[in-house]
Amino acid sequence: MSNARDVIIIGAGHNALVTAFYLGRAGLHPLVLERQAVAGGSAVTEEFHPGFRSSTLAHAAAPLVARVVQDMGLAHGGLEMIRPDPVVFAPSADGRALVLYRDTERSGQSIAQFSRADAGKYAEFARVLVRLAGVLQPLMLKTPPALRALSPGDLWTLLGAGRALRGLGSRDMFRLLRWGPMAAADLVSEWFESEPLRAVVAARGIFGAALGPWSAGSGGLLLLRAAFDPEPASGVCFARGGLGKLASALAEAATQAGAEIRNNAEVAEINVRDGAAVGVNLASGEVIPARNVISGVDPQRTFLRLVNPTHLEPGFVGRVRNYRSNGVLAKVNLALAGLPSFSAVKNTRDGRAALAGRIHIGPEIDYLERAFDASKYGDFSADPYLEVVIPSLSDPELAPAGKHVMSIYVQFAPYKLRGLEWSRERETLGDTVVKTLARYAPDLPGLILHQQVITPLALEERLGLTGGHVFHGELALDQLFSLRPLLGWAAYRTPLAGLYLCGSGTHPGVGLSGASGANAAREFLKDWKKRDRR
């Protein structure tokens, strides 16, 4: 295998690019193979209508891990990140709106119109989250302990976590331990009395997951997100020119570090010999030998589609099959002739600026829960929970002058419909979304020039996300940290020598943070160096 590459990385999603960068920086020359015409995976910007650009899927980045930003020199590249403030605009049915800012004081003033008590509690809640995040954040950049047969490194991680936990003092420590398995709805009702605030905060516990606010464990997801962004209502984080700009910045950094990225190069199979990965076959038929393969695609696609399962022990394959990865999120992109006028805006002190951040449609806990209920029976929500952004407000380049782009996450839209076909339901879903929004912005329907609806099925077909799950697998207690993707295989390694995982199907695996990619690179390089010494 003299002509074999050192490393092939499958997929050029943001995590894979981060991995590629760190490998390049360590002196390797990873070959990154991307199925699509452009790098970025879920974070590519496309012109979905002449003159209108939006992200196919991800429309905002979770704040990238600071160390990744620094290492990859993203700050002083051409990349400009935009963090709009106000952070959240949440209209209620009664025409009022809850507006949250980066400054809790200001948020308090808006919260007070619903509850004076909540205004005060919000500030306290924010402080608690910051303290808890202080303990959780470091864990995001750690390799989860194996739980069985703890390595010295694992013990160190656990001891460190334990020490940090006790450092919080009993009160916060128990908060952390209690909130994890809790239902987000219970968590927020322990703090707040006003529905709009409860709903906005609890929504962080269900976004992208097959959970309702009453589902136990949604509190844990809320905490996981807080680890990356301790603001009670996470703010959006745009890249000027669209999120694709972030992807291309990552790609450029990786390339400069020594990685080679090939687009339009779809990997059809991972070749295995004697229990070790020895390269890949491309759909084109080209065979590329390699000593190591790192997969940025989801676990099920990796082990059930790219690897011939006969190379894997049946018990393992069975567990991969049981890995839950049926998405509930759809995406709608709208090209608008003008800025829709949300009636509640006039009741804010921000004017149109109120719309610059996240527009949260899901005014009550029960509303969110009902939206979830539909998905349990294989139907999509009649009144969906929506996370909406109008990036063109802070980045006019994305649309022709005076016109706007609206990007909408839609929950709940289950990958598996019962008795229905997504191919036929696509437009119905789009109309449902517009109808829902029109309740808050009556003039919206008249402004729509073009409507792009991306169902979970389309997410699977276009982006290769198994089950259309945007996070490469369900974000539930049984699939997080040491259990992501599987107990015993949370260290980015796999049962096949030389095959690694670096995508969102590994810890921490939530949002565009780059953490999974960075962790995977660290583990791979550990093994690489060991082998070097021999």
């Binding site: 009160r171 420590m173 398995p181 136990a216 018990g315 029976y377 539930a476 207690l477 259990l483």
Partner: protein
């Protein structure tokens, strides 16, 4: 009042845990007084002749996990405890004129054939599943017998317990470790989906995961309760899964007899108004009639809210402790309908009398059915089509009904304590009718054979049995209220911020069900503090 007798310990509440607690302390030679509000002992584990000649296990109706060590230590069989087998679970299904059913019994071969009728794969998987669960049960059982570690202080005891648990986990075979973490984190349905394909099988099995909780079969955290069934079954030494002869009250009476024999004094119809506290220490109790009793220790078997907020003057407890107690969740989700029957119910899917009526009859025909029942409750109404778990003890124990007649007790979920519209007092009958209508869909003759019916709503459970918000386990058995978090974080060792005041009821680890474990463990802690 004259010279008040001085006791070593006063136990508040004569429920099964209070009695177990008293028995263990009395056996240690302490002077114990048990004070029960009602005219009958047993709390939620009582038998009452609700209608002349018909004796009902009014609330709790099956024995699942009564700890073998307690049965041994207190010699309960000698005091009249006799457990009769409860064999099988019969789950009728709607459909057509007859409909189908799934009937599982303890006889493996039979059950294998029966499940194979629905799915050969599932029949095979069921064997595997049973073995796996039994292993998991063995892993968990010691936890039921241990006082949870107090993570807020790093004592040698805490480290010992944590390493003990760590080692046990590490020593499990890999597949068992996998199952264990899944059981602790998954929903019952997600867990069962990995094993089985038959909807009704998963539905009736998952039902055990939601009993007494405000969760649905798809809510994470419901899987681990699946274990309880298997733990019951593997306490093989003494059959501990079934009915008590003479009704559930017979268990309480046996425990009471053991306590009295050991010298404990037990008084009924003595409601307590307040726990007496002098400079941070519990000194006794004051009755509603004004009498006062002094003791070195007060152990409360009533729930935490009743104990700390209902029976105490404010100011004795730290604010954040009180806040935690207020956060402790009850929100009862179930009711009980007790029926006096003139004859046996006749099921469309399996007509006539027969052994299928001797076990549990579970109205849980599909997962969607269970979920829709839950959805109703989430939005503040009782289930239009509830999950019902029925037993007809008179088939196994004729002593509880007149000759030829029968008692049928129906556990009903969901019946949320907090209704969005109206109150329970004017919905009790409608609720009862809903239960009967639901049963009638499977056993049409039910309406014609009912001699009398008793409907217990969550509100009734609270009023009559002192179960706050009608929660049958004295507080929800959800992950954040278990083990070292039960009832409130940092206070899971049966002690309280008030010196000399202990908790010994289901509101403490390991929680509800007729286990007796909280009563026993609390007693051991009290004795530890005394020595």
């Amino acid at each position: 009042m004259g010279a008040t007798p001085r006791y070593d310990a006063i136990v508040i509440g004569g429920g099964h845990n209070g009695l177990v607690h008293a028995a263990y302390l009395a056996r240690a030679g302490k002077k114990i007084l048990v004070l029960e509000r009602r005219h009958v002992l047993g709390g939620a584990a009582v038998t009452e002749e609700v209608f002349p000649g018909f004796k009902f296990s009014v609330c709790s109706y099956v024995v699942s996990l009564l700890r073998p060590e307690i049965i041994r230590d207190l010699g309960l069989p000698r005091h009249g405890l006799e457990i009769l087998p409860l064999d099988g679970t019969f789950a009728p299904m709607p459909g057509g004129s007859e409909g189908d059913y799934l009937w599982r019994v303890n006889d493996h071969a039979k059950t294998h054939r029966e499940i194979a009728r629905h799915s050969r794969l599932d029949a095979e998987a069921y064997e595997e599943y049973g073995k796996a669960m039994a292993e998991q049960g063995k892993f968990v059982k010691p936890i039921l017998g241990m006082t949870p570690p107090d993570l807020s202080r790093l004592s040698a005891d805490v480290l010992r317990k944590l390493t003990f648990l760590g080692r046990r986990f590490r020593d499990l075979p890999e597949p068992d470790q996998h199952n264990q973490v899944q059981l602790m984190t998954m929903s019952a349905v997600d867990f069962l989906d990995q094993w089985f394909e038959t909807d009704v099988l998963k539905a009736t099995m998952s039902a055990s995961g939601i009993i007494g909780t405000f969760l649905g079969v798809r809510s994470p955290g419901t899987a681990y309760v699946l274990l309880h069934h298997y733990m019951g079954e593997i306490d093989g030494a003494f059959r501990s899964w079934g009915f008590a002869k003479g009704g559930t009250g017979a268990i309480s009476n046996a425990i009471a007899a053991a306590a009295r024999e050991a010298g404990a004094e037990i008084r009924t119809q003595t409601p307590i108004a307040q726990i007496l506290i002098k400079n941070g220490r519990a000194t006794g109790v004051a009755l509603e009639n004004g009498d006062e009793f002094e003791a070195r220790v007060v152990s409360s078997s009533v729930d935490p809210r009743r104990t700390f907020i209902g029976m105490m003057e404010p100011g004795h407890l730290p604010d954040d402790f009180v806040e935690q107690v207020r956060h402790y969740k009850f929100r009862g989700s179930s009711g009980k309908v007790n029926l006096a029957l003139d004859a046996l119910p006749d099921f469309k899917c399996l007509p006539g009398p027969g052994p299928h009526l001797r076990g549990a009859i579970s109205i849980s025909p599909s997962i969607d059915y269970m979920e829709r029942a839950y959805d109703d409750a989430k939005y503040g109404r009782y289930s239009r089509r509830p999950y019902i778990d029925c037993v007809i003890p008179s088939l196994t124990d004729p002593s509880v009904a007149p000759p030829g007649k029968h008692v049928m007790s129906c556990f009903v979920q969901y019946a949320p304590y907090h209704l969005k519209e109206g109150g329970w007092d004017n919905q009790r009958d409608a609720f009862g009718d809903t239960v009967i209508d639901t049963l009638a869909e499977h056993a049409p003759n039910i309406k014609n054979i009912i001699l009398s019916r008793q409907v217990l709503t969550p509100l009734d459970l609270e009023r009559e049995f002192g179960l706050t918000e009608g929660n049958i386990f004295q507080g929800e058995l959800s992950l954040e209220q278990l083990f070292f978090l039960r009832p409130v974080p940092g206070w899971a060792q049966y002690r309280t911020p008030v010196k000399g005041l202990y908790l010994c009821g289901s509101g403490s680890h390991p929680g509800g069900g007729i286990m007796g474990a909280p009563g026993r463990l609390a007693a051991l802690e009290v004795l530890k503090d005394w020595n």
